[in-house]
């Protein structure tokens, strides 16, 4: 499976090539991958259903305990199934939606990469790999929202989505690291087994807050919900896939995954259920204000995400069963509705529901699909949405905390959602036929296949919810409920949830009837809503820009020597501090110098000093050369033949280099005044003195056993080499050497580029010269 996921990334990279071969059929070809993964997952079903866990291990960075371990249990299986199946349908849908689009290959690259990241995210058992995949989904989401990169709004929305989710991602990283430290393991399955330890741990509160921040931003919980509706600037397949069925559920997935290890505390219950309920209400409330079909759906997705969070917060057995059912139902109907929205946009050229009408005459099949999906959204029988909603209301009624508040919010959300569902279907498809910017036709088969299949699933599973019993059991078991008693049924008898449903049906119908008036009323709230979290985000961004401008002006004033001065002074202060105050220098040494050595060192110093006072470039080059050759001699005298040879050769080449370049540069000139020179002499003297002290101290302190002992011992037996320096270079530390030759190569390419790539300038000059010749 790991190989399949990694292969998927490679396949994503190959999309342009495939597009070259298969042309417009590429999406269909690429859909084979998620489909075959779904088949494989189906094949694993008996194991999962038996309550077993599939653990696929693959060491990645063993030294850090980072493994690419995939863990497939009920929860992961459910998510993986949703990702692969909806992913395949979305790819098929894309084939027609973006038919002939110039950037289709780019789109495919990113969406398949996203698919694989998302799969990796839900299958990872390791916190670190989970986080890596988490961030990958953020980045791919950014690229997909900004797919129409010529559109300013799309770019802005993409950036907003990225900032919000990545800021949350940072918090999540902190949270996961704390989780790993607190639990002493990076494996989710091990952490889940030690929930009690974690809940008692000192780090629990900061850890929980960080993890929740990550999950809430990703899953668009209040007050971070604003990025999701803006993300609707993405092409519709993206909205259907990322922003309803999969990515936004990553946060929910994480919470569900951590339910056994972190859940169940007072704090968890209160934060999750209140934030979730409030998000649910906000989503439903804001949805009803919109006429844009995609925004309507986006806000109702916010509402659904809120519901899921709330159910996790309630955390009882019933709530978790409701969670799984609702999650599945939502993915099915919302995916279908988004694709229908895409069809409407594609065929009519508008996204405004009030501008459409009577489309059932031209697109009867789409109408049927839309009706089924919308019924599920509305939570009406006999669809899966109904089963989910009933279970949700039931568990809300049984909630321990804030039951009245949550119930009220849930009830309002329920009837508003009903109205949204009605708007979504009745406005465009029924009523009087209206003129639209484009003349609509029935959707092409590829675009209809996806929503039709999802809607059919909604219907079938709604009629026979019992099929899901084993899946829900396997999933709920992974969330810390042992042996749950799951019997999903369409008909629960006449009970309180059913009565609530009926009342909400009536209220929802009422809201729909007076939708125009409701919207007009709500429009009065606009000034208030303009001060919402989104305004806060804008203000924060503006402040960041102002702040960075200010600090750039202060810190980067453009004077090279000021930078160098600041660096040197900081260095002196830091090293000096630890040298003088923390390790009193012990200057016990004996001088054991032979005459010829002293002469060589003297030449070296003279060369360096003369270079500073030389008045001509030639003088400076010569004195630097003398210094370099003296250093080479020192190397040779003190047992470093390799170094001596290298230094000699480099010194020769340096002189050649300087001859070639330096004499094209200006002559030496004295630009600074005497006072500055005195200051610089003092600074340089301090630095030099400190280095001397540092070197002297480094001999008197013996803190570590040098690792070279190992290298010397094993040079012949293991590395088969007798020149230890070379063995270190090409064997022990060959990765470093590899990096070094890359640096050298880069420098050479840089030199080449700087000297050669200046054609325009040259041609202007030559042009001028040619003109002169012509004139002459």
């Amino acid at each position: 499976m790991q190989l399949a996921v990694m292969g998927g990334f490679i396949l994503a990279g190959m999309a342009p090539l495939l597009h070259h071969w298969f042309g417009a059929r590429t999406p269909l070809v690429m859909a084979i991958l998620p489909l075959s993964m779904a088949m494989w997952l189906m094949g694993q079903w008996p194991t999962i259903a038996a309550g077993d866990v599939l653990l696929l291990e693959w060491a990645w960075v063993p030294a850090l305990g980072i493994t690419l371990t995939f863990l497939i249990d009920g929860l992961a299986w459910l998510f993986a199934m949703l990702i692969t199946v909806i992913g395949a349908l979305v790819l098929i849908y894309t084939g027609d939606y973006l038919k002939g689009h110039r950037d289709l290959p780019r789109f495919l690259v990113v969406i398949v990469a996203f698919m694989m990241s998302m799969l990796g995210l839900v299958l990872s058992d390791n916190l670190v790999t989970l986080f890596v995949f988490w961030e990958l989904t953020s980045i791919t989401s950014y690229l997909l929202i900004g797919f129409n990169h010529t559109d300013l709004t799309a770019r802005k929305s993409a950036q907003q989505g990225l900032f919000v989710t990545v800021a949350g991602g940072l918090a999540l990283m902190a949270g996961l690291v704390m989780l790993g430290v607190a639990g002493g393991s990076w494996s989710l399955s091990e952490l889940n087994a030690m929930g009690d330890v974690l809940r008692e741990h000192d780090l629990y509160t900061p850890l929980l807050i960080c993890v929740l921040l990550g999950a809430f931003t990703k899953s668009a919980q209040f007050p971070f919900h604003f990025w999701l509706p803006n993300a609707m600037a993405a092409p519709t397949p993206v909205s259907a896939y990322l922003h309803s069925a999969t990515m936004v559920k990553a946060g929910i997935y994480l919470l569900a995954r951590l339910q056994p290890s972190l859940g169940g505390t007072e704090m968890w219950i209160i934060i999750l259920s209140v934030v979730g309920a409030f998000t649910m209400f906000t989503g439903a409330f804001l949805a009803i204000r919109n006429t844009n079909v995609k925004k309507l759906l986006a806000y109702s997705t916010v509402m659904a995400l809120g519901t899921l969070t709330m159910l996790l917060g309630i955390g009882t057995e019933g709530a978790l069963i409701a969670f799984v059912t609702f999650l599945l139902a939502h993915s099915l109907y919302k995916g279908a509705l988004f694709m229908v929205a895409g069809i409407l946009d594609h065929e009519t050229g508008t996204k405004d529901v009030t501008a459409m009408g009577g489309l059932r005459h031209v697109m009867p099949k789409t109408t049927l699909v839309a009706c089924i999906a919308a019924l599920s959204l509305a939570g009406l029988p006999p669809l899966l949405g109904f089963v989910g909603k009933e279970l949700m209301l039931e568990s809300v009624l049984a909630a321990d905390h804030f039951d009245m508040l949550i119930l009220m919010l849930a009830f309002i959300a329920a009837f508003l959602t009903l109205a949204v569902a009605a708007v979504m279907v009745l406005k465009p498809f029924f009523g009087k036929r209206r003129e639209t910017p484009k003349t609509p036709h029935e959707a092409p088969t590829g675009m209809l296949a996806g929503p039709a299949m999802l809607a059919t699933l909604s219907l079938l599973l709604g009629l026979m919810p019992g099929v899901l019993d084993s899946l829900v059991t396997a999933t709920v078991e992974q969330m810390g409920v042992a042996g749950p008693d799951v019997h999903l049924a369409l008909w629960h008898g006449i009970n309180l949830p059913l009565i609530l449903s009926l009342v909400s049906l009536a209220l929802g119908a009422l809201v729909y009837r007076h939708w125009d008036r409701v919207r007009a009323r709500l429009a009065r709230l606009d000034p208030l809503l303009a001060r919402g979290p989104e305004a806060g985000y804008e203000a924060l961004m503006a402040w960041v820009v102002v702040f960075s401008e200010w600090q750039t002006r202060v810190l980067q004033n453009g004077y090279m020597r000021n930078y160098i001065l600041v660096m040197i002074l900081t260095l002196i202060a830091l090293i000096g501090n630890s040298l003088l105050l923390r390790h009193a220098p012990q200057l016990a040494f004996h001088l054991d110098v032979q005459f010829h050595e002293a002469v060589v060192v003297g030449m070296m110093v003279m060369g360096a000093l003369f270079a500073t006072i030389a008045r001509s470039r030639l003088g400076a080059v010569v004195s630097v050369g003398i210094m370099g050759f003296s250093i080479a001699l020192t190397f040779i005298q003190f047992s470093a033949p390799d170094l001596g040879i290298t230094q000699l050769l480099v010194e020769t080449l340096t002189v050649i280099l300087l001859v070639l370049v330096l004499f094209r540069l200006p002559r030496f000139s004295t630009l600074s005044n005497p006072l500055e020179r005195v200051r610089d002499v003092i600074v340089a003297g301090c630095m030099g003195g400190m280095i001397t002290l540092l070197v002297l101290t480094s001999w008197s302190i013996d803190q570590f056993v040098p690792i070279s002992g190992y290298m010397i011992e094993n040079s012949v037996p293991l590395a088969h080499g007798r020149n230890i320096v070379n063995v270190i270079l090409v064997d022990y530390r060959s990765l470093d050497t590899l990096g070094e030759i890359f640096v050298l190569a880069l420098a050479a390419i840089g030199v080449f580029a700087m000297l050669k790539f200046r054609a325009p300038e040259r041609s202007v000059k030559q042009g001028a010269a040619a003109k002169e010749n012509a004139d002459g």
Binding site: P641, D642, I645, T646, L649, V650, T652, L653, I656, L657, L660, V661, F663, A719, H720, G721, R722, N723, V725, N726, V727, L729, V730, D731, S734, L735, T737, L738, I741, F742, L744, A745, A747, A748, I749, V751, F752, L755, K756
Partner: protein, 143 residues
């Protein structure tokens, strides 16, 4: 600005270059046991070509190098460096673990280490040569 054409320099360069190149290969091959190795050998070889450059100029040196562009040498060097990484992987060991094989008839010990060192040699030679040649070419263009 570099004047070529003194007889002594020309003769010396013509005679020295093959010797220097041979010496650099010698340094490269014995580098694992005695002073030498890829870096030093690369620098020696670069020195040989540089001498030739000064004596005969850029176009003559390019003729000596035939079709080989110094930049290609960089590429080949880096590639060899990377290639030597993989055998260990196939053997199921960590990346960069040295592999040794003995070639039977001439009793020569081949290894990924040697491949790596040749990569270093070529990368160093190519880099230095690319820098110097580009500089000299530009110099020639500008009076």
């Amino acid at each position: 600005m570099v004047k070529s054409g003194t007889i002594i320099l020309n003769t010396a360069a013509r005679l020295m270059m093959p010797l220097q190149l041979l010496f650099s290969v010698f340094l490269l091959l014995r580098g694992h046991d005695e002073p030498g190795g890829g870096f030093i050998a690369g620098l020696v070889a670069a020195g040989a070509f540089t001498l030739y450059l000064f004596a005969f100029g850029v176009s003559a040196t390019k003729q000596v190098l035939r079709m080989v562009d110094p930049r290609d040498l960089i590429g080949v060097g880096l590639l060899l460096g990377m290639v030597s990484v993989f055998p260990a992987w196939f053997m199921g060991q960590a990346f960069l673990t040295a592999q040794w094989w003995t070639i039977p008839i001439i009793d020569f010990k081949a290894s990924t280490v040697l491949i790596f060192d040749i990569g270093v040699y070529l990368a160093v030679l190519g880099s230095v040569l690319a820098m110097v040649m580009t500089l000299m070419e530009v110099d020639k263009d500008e009076p």
